[in-house]
Subunit: 201 residues, 2 copies
């Protein structure tokens, strides 16, 4: 799936440059992989290439958008209106890709009632009712670690089926719910691990 | 490496609960893996467990911190003082884990000269000289996509060997440099991919 996202970005860049056809080699170079991998990955979803010509940039782009579920808009709930939450709300790529943060929740009374670009910050106590009523299936969890597991369960009870989790906690949720953990501290730990081991070699 | 980070968090939680010994089963449950995996992972770095007793929580915690390079402090440069940059600067886990953002760079003249908790925002033109002089080896790249590749090269020329990259671009850098990409749009795309395919099943 990550590689599909990379191919999509490569196709967008190629399209911007005015290219109508792209070989698997060109795509591979832009996406940081091999041409064999590109052909293999894309063949899983259909036969998009034309032998000897390569891939048609606009149509393959459309196909990958469809495969990634980007051919529609997704309403998203943001839980936690702190620094991480506000950075995520302002992150332009979410909206560009069809993810609309249309509900924000926080338990801080000073924040509740504020509006971010027209979206009202609601109290945490409204979470379950509001999400259930609006049919939101995707949520971004940007609350402190101690609250994350409980909030995760409330989200799932309300009908959420996919969570992007920024809390440094393993959520314990049913297998039917897809959770993607973004743990920024772990990302830097992976860097310090590598640097430390190079230093010792 | 990610699993080591999870074990560390599990050991910290167990330590907070006052446990002195932990079985591989307990560690596995907390870290979201299997006890066989725990034993296998830890055996790579030495023999830490005591047969029939389990692992000593404080000493294993210390060992994993050492393995992850967390037994020292790392000076870190933050490039890009926008919303993502400011959220990362305020992210408490970085400092807790020994990562000190001690230099901030931005090309916006309105930001240059400001201080975030005492750390001055410097002009992008100072990047190479300042990083070389201060010997910083780790950087967080939070600049817009068009600038990211160039800034990445400047960082590496200045001596940076590890980059946490938030720009939605594949940096093209020598293999000796370790780059961890955090692409938030791709993380949500992985969610929409899963939800779309479940819907179609």
């Amino acid at each position: 799936v990550r590689r599909l996202s990379h191919y999509l970005r490569a196709l967008e860049a190629l399209g911007d440059e005015g290219l109508a056809l792209a070989s698997s080699e060109v795509l591979a170079e832009r996406a940081g992989t091999t041409s064999a991998q590109v052909r293999k990955d894309l063949s899983i979803f259909g036969s998009f290439g034309r032998r000897g010509l390569g891939y048609e940039v606009p149509s393959l782009r459309g196909e990958i958008e469809r495969i990634l579920g980007l051919d529609r808009r997704w309403p998203v709930a943001l839980v936690g209106a702190g620094r991480i939450g506000s950075a995520l709300f302002a992150y332009p790529s979410f909206r560009e890709r069809g993810f609309d943060i249309c509900a924000i929740f926080d338990e801080d009374p000073a924040k509740v009632g504020c509006r971010w670009e027209g979206v009202e910050i609601r109290p945490a106590s409204d979470l379950e009712r509001h999400i259930r009523r609006s049919g939101i299936e995707m949520a971004i969890l940007a609350v402190p670690a101690p609250a994350a597991r409980t909030v995760g369960r409330v989200l799932v009870d309300a009908g959420v089926r996919a969570i992007l989790n920024f809390a440094p906690v393993q959520l314990q949720l049913p297998d039917s719910v897809v959770v993607n953990d973004v743990n920024l501290a772990m990302e830097v730990e992976a860097l310090s691990f590598t640097l430390s081991h190079r230093d010792r070699e």
